[in-house]
Symmetry: C2
Subunit: 281 residues, 2 copies
């Protein structure tokens, strides 16, 4: 099936579309994006993703060429056109063509509708295995397109028979390339980093849910040396929702403990409510 994307201000086949070689998004790596999941035709947490897309744009001095409402309409439109029931929508915004490669041009918007693979059932059951690596993104609060470290590290991750890498800076945990990280500490509190991270839409929803059900949430620096004592640990992302962590380097952790399970079930309820409501807030 031929996928249709939005590029250069019009709908066109993805295979025939491209970004200009002179666009700063390609030539100089200057671009931001956001990515949301579509379930049963409904874009999940749409307004949160659009808000974050606009915030990333603002942080990078880019102007989105549409209002939030217009962008939401384009998202509904790309879902309608492609008719992938379960998929992802990627919104990208680049620095545009630049005369000197130094000053921003007119920001260019791209929308892609992509098939997505949900995490395998074993991963949910057996847990996510992680290796740690010292790294901090240059614009940590912004969803830029720079995933070069993740891709470059991939052979190392696989050599360690791990699923993913967890970044830290001098022992202070930040995030995985595409997930946020949580632990349940010995006091039963939910702890997650709050600085030098991309604040995931799934992460924010989990924090909301945890507070609603009376779990104390600690938004603070989390050190690697706190991991061995953790009762539970999990990662969250748009594609993965909540996946328990079973191993961090050589520390093994119990999976699907009570807090992880409760949060996961409540998260599914939120999703169902979104679907019933067709994504409208």
């Amino acid at each position: 099936m031929e996928l249709i994307c939005y590029a250069n201000q019009r709908w066109q086949p993805l295979n025939e579309s491209g970004v200009s070689l002179q666009d700063l998004g390609f030539k100089r790596g200057y671009a931001i994006f956001d990515f949301l999941r579509v379930a049963q035709g409904t874009p999940l947490f749409l307004s949160q993703h659009i808000d974050r897309f606009f915030q990333s744009a603002k942080d990078m001095r880019l102007t989105v060429p549409h209002t939030k409402e217009e962008l939401a309409r384009l998202v509904y439109e790309i879902i309608e056109i492609n008719r992938l029931a379960d998929s992802g929508v990627r919104m990208m915004l680049t620095g545009g063509n630049s005369e000197d490669g130094l000053h921003l041009g007119t920001a260019q918007l791209f929308l892609l509708n992509e098939p997505i693979t949900p995490p395998p059932a074993e991963m949910k059951k057996e847990g996510y295995q992680m290796v740690t690596y010292p790294y901090r993104r240059h614009f940590p609060q912004v969803k830029t397109t720079d995933y070069s470290m993740e891709i470059w590290l991939r052979p190392m991750v696989e050599e360690h028979l791990a699923n993913d890498v967890l970044y830290h800076h001098h022992g202070i945990i930040s995030e995985c390339p595409r997930c946020n990280f949580f632990i349940v500490n010995t006091a039963g509190n939910l702890v997650t980093p709050d600085s030098n991270i991309l604040k995931g839409v799934t992460r924010n929803t989990i924090i909301e849910i945890a507070r609603e059900i009376g779990i104390l949430v600690e938004l603070r620096d989390l050190h690697l040396h706190e991991i061995p004592a953790a009762r539970e640990a999990f990662v969250s992302s748009t594609t993965k929702r909540i996946i328990p962590v079973s191993r961090m380097d050589d520390v093994y952790l119990p999976v699907n403990g009570p807090v992880t399970t409760l949060l996961f079930n409540r998260f599914l309820e939120r999703e169902q409510a979104e679907i019933a409501n067709e994504g409208k807030p």
Copy 2:
């Protein structure tokens, strides 16, 4: 005039060319490049640029789909096709299309021939003004396409009425986004950073020249606090050759001192020799 580029394994008009939206070079910022100057139709320091391009590719686990000799022929070809007497040739190599956005695809080669603007004569005469900023690239020895910090910082640089930014890490100077940095210290030695930098082709040539004419060269960490005592300072790059530095933050420096002038004149001689030899080593 319509410029011709090399993209998707063929020559085509630049304006009609693009990179796939699914190429990791765009979608995930995974790409390397090199840039050389063409003077009177001759690609300058061609073999050094091609060697570095291959080294960048290797460091990023990318395979150049040509031999060095074939790539050199493509460079001569793009110059021949576009007939821009004085210009730049940009060679780019991307991670290619990836099924999962995580594992590298087949590396894609792009060649662009670009008009270049030589630095204005006043800049050479009056000097380059710089502001410092704490930053270190993630793959410092590799010429990746990630210039997002430079572009993002541009308004700050211009607010300070400066020409460029000099990066440092805890006070240890590394490089400018597109230039290397040198000082002549009180002993009359040429000092330039050697770690956490991209080793410029112009930089390497300057070091060679300095050694040939008996100037002691110190390749070592250079601290910001050494700047006020510097007798001379300059930046080097493919496009700028050698430009004296007149100001670093609020430290003013004398421009076009004897060492800077001598190195510049010798560098021009090297260039002339390259042109006479039509770029052949």
